[in-house]
């Protein structure tokens, strides 16, 4: 057995080896690849700036608009800080923000090397990168703000950069502290949620102050300098320093779980494989089905409707976190509907996206059939028929989520919807969310199938855009009747009469999607056969199923 030198400098050896690996990696990168990456980043950055610039416009704000920004801005801009902190707390309570290589966890963190020293370098590297991104994004945002608001451009750019770095510091610092203190997951989510709720309550005027509004004071420095704006900067600094000091206390169990899943998660996100992202995210959050169901079904064996019963059993084993998330998405949809009802039309998008995300949970039993096709295909029943039989449980789940949204929309307070309209909207909300999720799960990520491999890049790009946008668009259609109802009331008609045509439209769309679920396999087989006929000289030895 080899012997260790008790005086060996383990931390120094770690630094040397990390430098060796970095040199090796850099040597393996071809300059053409590096140049291409820089070129792509530059082009995408310019496009983003141009799009943001055109969205912001360059009309100078009137004096009353500036007064409004000064009055309401701190509350809403504080929401950004609340979001950054919530993101950090959530990440830290789940083992973040660092995502180390799995081999690094196994070989470095299991060696008798000081963990603080081992983790400091990756933490500083992450802070440096995100800080740089914050600096650039903040500076660009400041420049765009200077086009519309009074104040020197340089002051806006400098403030924007400071805001960007502060936001990163708050988020990463909160994550490091939460990870070091081993904050329970529920506590991280709860504190984050309270911060966001406080900022929103301040924004809509339910309360006079929120803890994050000082961040808004910092953002508005070029308009009105306030010493209070220094508070978030100081807090970010304190959080980062405290978080770095707590690095050595980070959980190895969480670090390893994270190291295993984050790499796969990024890869799946790159491929736009939403289903894989959802499954990995659940694993990362340790969202496991309950051992004991909420309610035990009194059905012997599979009963008369095995697919339905299987879906219901899955639903009754949902973990509390998923139930809470579905309720929360319903609340978000309800609040967004209130906003859309009172005139902020784009909030329909938020309501639709919330229902789409809820739908992705609601179609879980069907998604599992798609995940494990060999099990499904071993059944004598056609796959499409099994998929279709999963829809009732999905619809039931979505009606519950949309019901929460309807109740919130009709609840007391400013911007409430008429009760009959809110009740009517529950149906298209559920139908839209379910339809969008069905399309997303069954269509899967966009692949270069035979039929499209010869298409020109423009057509490929268009297909990619449509395939990506269509599922959430279906869900947004389900939320759109509220806008029609608002327009009808403005024209002197009843809200119900205005909403009804689009409610029917959303239901017809769900019926069409259900039909597509039933016949899509037949269409795919027909299309494949047509493509085979169109390419008669191709070797078809592997196409036994054609």
């Amino acid at each position: 057995m080899l012997a260790a030198d008790p005086d060996a400098d383990l931390e120094g050896a770690l630094v040397d080896w990390r430098q060796f690996r970095r040199r090796k990696r850099v040597a393996d990168i071809h300059w053409i690849d590096a140049f291409y990456q820089a070129y792509l980043t530059g082009i995408l950055g310019l496009v983003a700036v141009a799009v943001a610039s055109s969205a912001v416009g360059d009309d100078v704000a009137t004096a009353s608009q500036v007064r409004e920004v000064l009055a309401d801005g701190p509350a809403w801009l504080g929401g950004l800080a609340a979001f950054a902190l919530a993101l950090g707390l959530r990440s830290g309570s789940r083992g973040g923000p660092l995502a180390l290589e799995r081999a690094e966890v196994r070989h470095v963190l299991l060696a008798p090397v000081d963990r603080m020293s081992a983790l400091l370098a990756p933490a500083l590297r992450q802070l440096r990168f995100l800080g740089f991104v914050g600096l650039i994004v903040g500076g660009v945002a400041g420049d765009l703000a200077s086009k519309r608001l009074p104040g020197a451009t340089l002051a806006w750019i400098a403030t924007g950069s400071l805001v960007g770095i502060t936001g990163v510091g708050l988020s990463v610092g909160a994550a490091l502290v939460a990870g070091g203190l081993r904050l329970p997951r529920w506590a991280g989510s709860l504190v984050g949620l309270l911060l966001i709720a406080g900022a929103v309550a301040h924004g809509v005027g339910l309360v006079d102050v929120s803890v994050t509004s000082v961040f808004g004071d910092l953002v508005l420095w070029p308009l009105r300098f306030s010493l209070a704006g220094l508070a978030p900067v100081a807090l970010a600094l304190v959080l980062v320093v405290a978080g770095l000091a707590l690095l050595g206390r980070a959980s190895l169990e969480a670090a390893e779980r994270r190291s295993t899943l984050v790499g796969q998660l990024r890869f799946a996100a790159t491929l736009q494989d939403l289903r894989t992202v959802i499954v990995l995210r659940r694993q990362l959050a340790m969202e496991l089905p309950r051992i004991r169901p909420w309610v035990r079904l009194r059905v012997r064996g599979t009963g008369r409707w095995p697919v339905f019963v299987r879906g219901l059993r899955g639903l009754l084993r949902w973990p509390a976190a998923r139930v809470a998330r579905l309720g929360l998405l319903g609340v978000v949809a309800g609040v967004a509907l209130r906003g859309a009802w009172t005139g902020t039309t784009p909030l329909v998008l938020l309501a639709g996206v919330a229902m789409f995300i809820a739908g992705l949970d609601a179609v879980e039993p069907l998604a599992q059939e798609v995940d494990h096709p060999s099990r499904r295909d071993a059944s004598p029943m056609p796959a499409a028929a099994i998929h279709l039989l999963h829809l009732p449980v999905g619809l039931l789940t979505m009606l519950l989520a949309a019901g929460v949204g309807g109740a919130v929309a009709a609840g007391p307070g400013p911007g409430r919807l008429p009760a009959d309209l809110a009740a009517l909207l529950v149906v298209p909300l559920a139908a839209g969310g379910l339809g969008g999720a069905l399309v997303s799960v069954l269509a899967g990520p966009v692949t270069m199938s035979e039929g499209w491999s010869l298409a020109p890049p423009e057509a490929q790009g268009m297909r990619l855009a449509v395939r990506t946008a269509w599922p959430p668009a279906v869900a947004v259609i389900g939320a759109a009747p509220v806008v029609m109802a608002r327009a009808a009331v403005a024209d002197g008609h009843t809200a119900l009469a205005g909403a009804q045509p689009l409610v029917v439209g959303a239901l017809v769309l769900l019926a069409l999607i259900s039909g597509w679920v039933r016949v899509r396999d037949d269409i795919a087989a027909w299309w494949k056969a047509q493509m085979a006929l169109a390419q008669p000289n191709r070797d078809r030895t592997n196409d036994a199923d054609v």
């Binding site: 057995m1 080899l2 012997a3 260790a4 030198d5 008790p6 060996a8 383990l10 050896a13 770690l14 040397d16 080896w17 690996r21 090796k24 990696r25 393996d28 290589e101 799995r102 081999a103 966890v105 196994r106 070989h107 470095v108 299991l110 060696a111 008798p112 090397v113 000081d114 959980s251 190895l252 169990e253 390893e256 340790m286 496991l288 309950r290 051992i291 004991r292 973990p319």
Partner: protein, 228 residues
């Protein structure tokens, strides 16, 4: 040769994931120089126990110490080597670089000859300068075995070591384990191979996270313990 000095001590060690108990309160002592076979059916808690002792998992309750230090602390990590079921390796390091890296992290100044000797023992001499990321499961397992042995330890924890190994690889590993045992290392091997218990000083059988047998055992005993 086993001595009475306890090296690995588990006292009421428990691991639960929400309402799922992966390891019921488990108490176990492994003295210096003892080779223990840890057997049990799938999901019985073998791997969970080894990962808790290695410091990769955190205890829900109870205590585990390694060479007198709580599991996961620097002293415990220095005294323990863990050979996992699934080889975890870097993508960008060759076999030789892996060994040199891990040796350095444990304060071992291994010469080229010493590394070559270890590489030869796990039958990887012809692939020493290749990237294990491109190896088969069996060759990756051999790399992982070499990594577990390139640093000093008093206690070796081994999780399903024979999976993926060919017959000669398995024989070589058994020879290495016997040699380490003769040199006085304590070894705990979690395995589904009932024949291994014949080599061990002691067999600990787990069922649903609880110890159902602790003592000498034969292959037939293991088959009975695991199947009932």
């Amino acid at each position: 040769m086993p001595t009475s000095e306890p090296l690995l001590v588990a006292h009421e060690a428990t691991k639960a994931y929400a309402d799922l108990v992966a390891l019921a309160p488990l108490s176990l002592t492994v003295p210096t120089g003892e080779m223990v076979a840890l057997v049990g059916h799938n999901g019985s808690g073998k791997s969970t126990f080894l990962r808790l002792a290695a410091g990769l998992l955190e205890l829900t309750d109870g205590e585990i110490t390694v060479a007198g230090a709580p599991a996961g602390t620097s002293d415990a990590r220095a005294a323990l080597s863990f050979l996992p079921y699934e080889p975890v390796l870097y993508d960008d390091l060759s076999v030789r670089e892996h060994l040199a890296y891990v040796a350095a992290l444990h304060g071992v100044d291994a010469s080229g000859d010493e590394l070559d000797e270890l590489i030869a023992r796990v039958q990887l001499s012809h692939r020493a300068d290749d990237l294990p990321a491109r190896f088969s499961r069996g060759l990756r397992q051999k790399t992982s075995i070499a990594l577990a042995l390139v640093r000093p330890f008093e206690l070796l924890l081994v999780d399903e070591p024979f999976v993926g190994l060919d017959a000669t690889g398995k024989e070589a590993l058994l020879g290495i384990l016997d040699e380490l045992h003769d040199d006085g290392a304590a070894i705990v091997v979690a395995t589904h191979d009932p024949g291994f218990v014949e080599r061990a000083d002691r067999c600990v059988a787990l069922r649903d996270g609880e110890v159902v047998h602790d003592g000498p055992a034969t292959t037939a005993d293991v088959l009975r313990l695991v199947s009932t």
